[in-house]
Amino acid sequence: MTPQVFQILLALADHDLHGYAIIKEIADRTGGQLRLTASTLYAALKRLLDDGLIEELDPPRDETDPRRRYYRLTRAGRTAGRAEAGRLDALAGMARAKKWLPRRRPEH
């Protein structure tokens, strides 16, 4: 899973969003470090749709632009995202064991 795809899944974790909102959410959350282009986004969305990780919704009633499509995480998508997060966490754990990362602060 590429970082872009993972970020898109993360963006959809709490809300159903349309394309532009996904790009904005990712840019805001990463402090502008990851700015998707329109082409990247739709190429990735297409793959996610094909794999059944997300689904397309009709726009909510208060949406002013009727052309907009909203996307929602499917159950499979959530599972895949969690699995990727787990993989990243495991990787981070290994890096921490080799002191590439500072020790995790104790949780409250």
């Binding site: 282009t37 329109a38 082409s39 969305l45 297409k46 499509r69």
Partner: protein
């Protein structure tokens, strides 16, 4: 501009995304385009144009790398698509190109110099063209500003009567604002000698319409238009610096103008149109009761279109308002309609636009020659590197792989050349601004190197790189492996095809250079012939200057007449002055005032009454200019207001209107010179024609009538002062003193010798001749250096063959003839094609020519001999080197 660029980019993206991502469902492509549009707007708002470009770059890259093109190029061995492989290859090829250029510093420097000159000149000319033809004027929302004017069916002069203006202003709904301006001259008494400054009366909203706010103080408010309020004035920043030393405390203080006093309330922003020759002093325009009723058309009216109103609607509305209004005005409105035009189209004269396009075309041709030259050199380089290419091909490099480094090399050079060209352009632009004749470019436009120009330069550089690089690269791609390897360690001499290609390029270069050289020759001949036209008077030793009597202090005709008579006598009496006299206009200045007339005793033409140029002149004017007297007498001091009315006419007047040629003794009724048109004027003299409308004025174009100044006084006159010897300018201080003694508040303006005036009347011609001549010289130089380079290569490549010829007994002369002969054939072909093209092209600028034609055989021959001679010299130099080849050495080399 901004909106158009964004819309175009969005449209392009939407097409691309559909083509490159066929598998997208249709809805997704539309959405992607929508998101693209939102993101590009955000990038532009947040980070400006550079941010927008960066975003476009990122989008283009991801669009390509995720496209089906990329997927199709997926290489299962490396697991990469071409978008992955490409950057690596590019880096590799760039390094190759860089190394190969570093290995040939002479070639690189030569090509860079040509590119810098060619692209630099094009950049400079484009910035001029952009300023006058494309870029909005430097005012707020300038494309919404229109000029409206009353317009007669026969063509008018862009002005409007106060009655019409007031009516439009209250009725028209299509305009957010309609503001008027009227020109005037004011004599400024503060800060030095009295100086006459160009001033304007403007309605209070004038500056608001242009979106201009004061740099110091304020501009006008509606309250300033109240006639009860004290007079206020706004001045240009240039005038503020020149007369008030940029002193802020001057603001709010009264300014002493001749005849009135106005409080200085504001200074306009510096380095704007107001500092480049537009009026320098503005006062509010308040119509006097007489003016408010006036049907005289003397206002320039600018309008700002109301929001959402297209110019066509505004035009239609104004036309219908004017039609209804004109019907109520009687004779003043008959046959008049209105004109509504974008302001820019009025500001930039047609002749200026034509000149700029022509110069842009000429400089473009120079660049084409440079390109052909570089392509020719590139082919030679490809041939010389034939062995290296063959080795690469033998080792399995694909055609594209062979092609790419050559194209990249060319692009690298052209972009570097473009970068140097921008520096050259800024110098050229400064030089251009210094030599362009005043008034050619309107003050409202200023050519600058801005982002638009830089984008143009980048585009030109890339196009040049591709144009000049494709031929050599293509040569490299299709060269034969065995041939090049068999040719031995020094590389081959190229095939027949390469030499034919180079010859074709040379012919093209010479043909284009021939067009430019012919054009320059025609213009030079024209300039020479115009300058040698006899003006009809003797311009040597004559000083000219203009004096105007302020109407506030010289209200009556008698006072004006007395003032100029006294001035005439005072200047005439100065030591060193032979003759002095004044008239309402000077020769070469064009028609100023026309009058209708009727010669007593000749049949009257009621349909088309004849008209002539009318001049009021003091005694001594004819003598001061040295105009020849053909019959009768000129004016004397006895031709006073009380004396019988007399007139002098010119030879054209007699030839055109008096069939028997006997003018002296006849009487003529004049239409508009005095209020009393019932009394006739006795013709007492006939003078020779002078070139009133300029040196190129055709014979019999301007019939003229002169009347004595005292019998029909005018408030502004030009003096002509003929001096006995020496520089006439030396008399300026004495003349100034004499004038000051009579009236200390009179402004003396426009002081020039007559020779300077003649020179100034040729400025525009001299300017375009110089520009075209420079471009022609550049073109000839480039074409000849191309001839030299290609011939030198050809001779070097045939060294061995020439060695054999010499060994077999060829003479030195024979070898030179052989080598020059080939160059000569190409030259003749180029000149012939160029000559035909020149005749055809020059017809476009036919009106610039004088006493010569595009197909003038003398000029064509001279141009051909000049360019042909240079080309023969360029091919003779390498030929001479060929003649010195030592056969033994040449044959031993293998």
């Amino acid at each position: 501009m901004r909106a158009r660029v964004l819309a175009a980019a969005a449209a392009l993206y939407s097409v691309l995304v559909r083509r490159l991502h066929r598998r997208f469902p249709a809805g997704a492509a539309v959405q992607a385009a929508g998101v693209f549009d939102a993101l590009q707007r955000e990038a532009l708002d947040r980070r400006g144009w550079p941010g927008l470009l960066a975003y476009w770059g990122a989008e283009a890259w991801t669009l390509l790398s995720s496209s089906r093109l990329a997927r199709r190029s997926f290489d299962p061995r490396t697991g990469q698509t071409w978008t992955r492989r490409w950057p690596m290859q590019l880096r590799h090829d760039l390094r190759d190109a860089w190394r190969s250029l570093r290995g040939a510093p002479g070639y690189t420097a030569f090509v860079l110099m040509m590119l810098a000159l060619g692209i630099g000149a094009n950049t400079a000319m484009f910035s001029v063209l952009d300023a006058i033809a494309f870029k909005p004027l430097p005012f707020a929302d300038a494309d919404r500003i229109v000029l409206v004017a009353e317009w007669p069916r026969t063509g008018g002069n862009w002005t409007t009567a106060p009655t019409a203006y007031t009516h439009w202003r209250t009725t028209a709904r299509a305009f957010a604002q309609l503001e008027a301006r009227a020109g005037m001259t004011a004599v400024l008494l503060d800060g030095g000698d009295p100086a006459s400054v160009r001033a304007a009366r403007v309605t209070p909203g004038f500056f608001t319409l242009l979106g201009i706010t004061a740099a110091e103080g304020r501009t006008f408010t509606p309250a300033d238009a109240d006639p009860q309020q004290p007079c206020v004035a706004v001045i240009s920043s240039r005038l503020w610096r020149a007369r008030y030393h940029a002193n802020r405390s001057a603001i709010g203080q009264p300014m002493r103008l001749s005849g009135r006093t106005c409080a200085l309330i504001g200074v306009l922003p510096p380095d704007t149109a107001f500092d480049r020759g537009a009026p320098e002093l503005y006062v509010p325009l308040v119509f006097t009761p007489v003016e408010a009723q006036s049907n005289g058309r003397w206002l320039t009216v600018l309008g700002r279109l109301a929001d959402g109103v297209a110019i066509d609607r505004a035009r239609a509305e104004l036309e219908s308002i004017a039609a209804a209004f004109n019907a109520t005005r009687g004779a003043a409105g008959a046959n008049w309609t209105t004109l509504t035009t974008p302001w820019r189209d009025v500001l930039v004269r047609v002749s200026t636009r034509q000149l700029t396009w022509t110069l842009f075309g000429a400089v473009g041709l120079v660049l084409v020659i440079a390109c052909a030259n570089i392509a020719g050199l590139g082919i030679s380089r490809t041939v010389a590197r034939g062995r290296e290419i063959a080795v690469r091909a033998a080792l399995g490099a694909s055609r594209g792989r062979l092609f790419r480094p050559f194209l990249l090399e060319s692009l690298l050079l052209s972009v570097a050349g473009g970068a140097i060209g921008i520096a050259a352009a800024s110098l050229l632009l400064r030089a251009f601004a210094a030599v362009v004749p005043a008034g050619t470019l309107p003050a409202e436009v200023a050519p600058v190197l801005d982002l638009r120009v830089l984008l143009f330069t980048l585009a030109v550089s890339v196009v040049v790189g591709i144009a000049a690089g494709t031929l050599p690269a293509w040569q490299a791609g299709r060269s034969s492996v065995t041939g090049a390897l068999a040719a031995g360690p020094r590389g081959g001499s190229g095939t027949k095809r390469t030499s034919r290609l180079q010859s074709a390029l040379l012919v093209v270069e010479l043909a284009i250079a021939m067009v430019l050289v012919t054009g320059a020759a025609l213009l030079m001949v024209t300039l020479n012939r115009v300058a040698s036209v006899a003006p009809g008077f003797d311009p040597a030793q004559v000083l000219t200057l203009r004096i105007s009597a302020p109407p506030s202090r010289y209200a009556s005709r008698e006072a004006v007449a007395a003032l100029f008579s006294r001035l005439d006598a005072a200047i005439d009496g100065l030591p060193g002055v032979d003759h002095a006299g004044a008239a309402t206009s000077l020769p070469l200045g064009g028609w100023l005032f026309g009058t209708r007339f009727q010669i007593e005793g000749l049949p009257e033409d009621r349909e088309r009454p004849p008209s002539a140029h009318i001049q009021q002149a003091t005694p001594g004017y004819v003598e001061a200019l040295g105009i020849g007297l053909a019959a009768g007498r000129s004016f004397t001091a006895r031709d006073t207001a009380q004396a019988p009315r007399v007139a002098i006419v010119n030879a054209t007047f007699v030839r055109r209107f008096i069939q028997d040629g006997r003018a002296v003794g006849r009487r003529v009724f004049l239409g508009s010179v005095t209020d009393d048109t019932s009394r006739p004027w006795d013709i007492v003299g006939v003078i020779n024609d002078v070139k009133t409308g300029g040196l190129t004025e055709p014979a019999l174009a301007t019939p003229e009538i002169y009347v004595p100044h005292e019998q029909a006084p005018m408030g502004g006159m030009f003096f002509a002062v003929r001096t006995a010897s020496g520089d006439p300018s030396a008399l300026v201080p004495a003349i100034r003193q004499a004038i000051q003694r009579l009236d200390g508040e009179l402004a003396v303006g426009d002081i020039q010798t007559m020779d300077q005036r003649i020179g100034a009347s040729l400025h525009a011609r001299r300017f375009r001749t110089t520009m075209i001549a420079i471009f022609a010289a550049l073109a000839a130089l480039l074409a000849c250096s191309g001839v030299y380079a290609v011939r030198a290569r050809a001779v070097a490549a045939r060294r061995r063959e020439i060695g054999i010829r010499v060994a077999l007994g060829a003479t030195r002369r024979g070898v030179i003839a052989l080598a020059v002969g080939q160059g000569l054939r190409l030259t003749v072909a180029g000149l012939a094609i160029g000559g035909v093209a020149a005749v055809w092209t020059m017809r476009a600028v036919d009106e610039w020519l004088f006493q010569t034609t595009p197909s003038d055989p003398g000029v064509l021959t001279a141009a051909a001999l000049l360019l042909g001679g240079a080309a023969v010299v360029a091919s003779w130099v390498p030929a001479r080197r060929a003649a010195t080849i030592d056969p033994v050495a040449a044959l031993r080399e293998d």
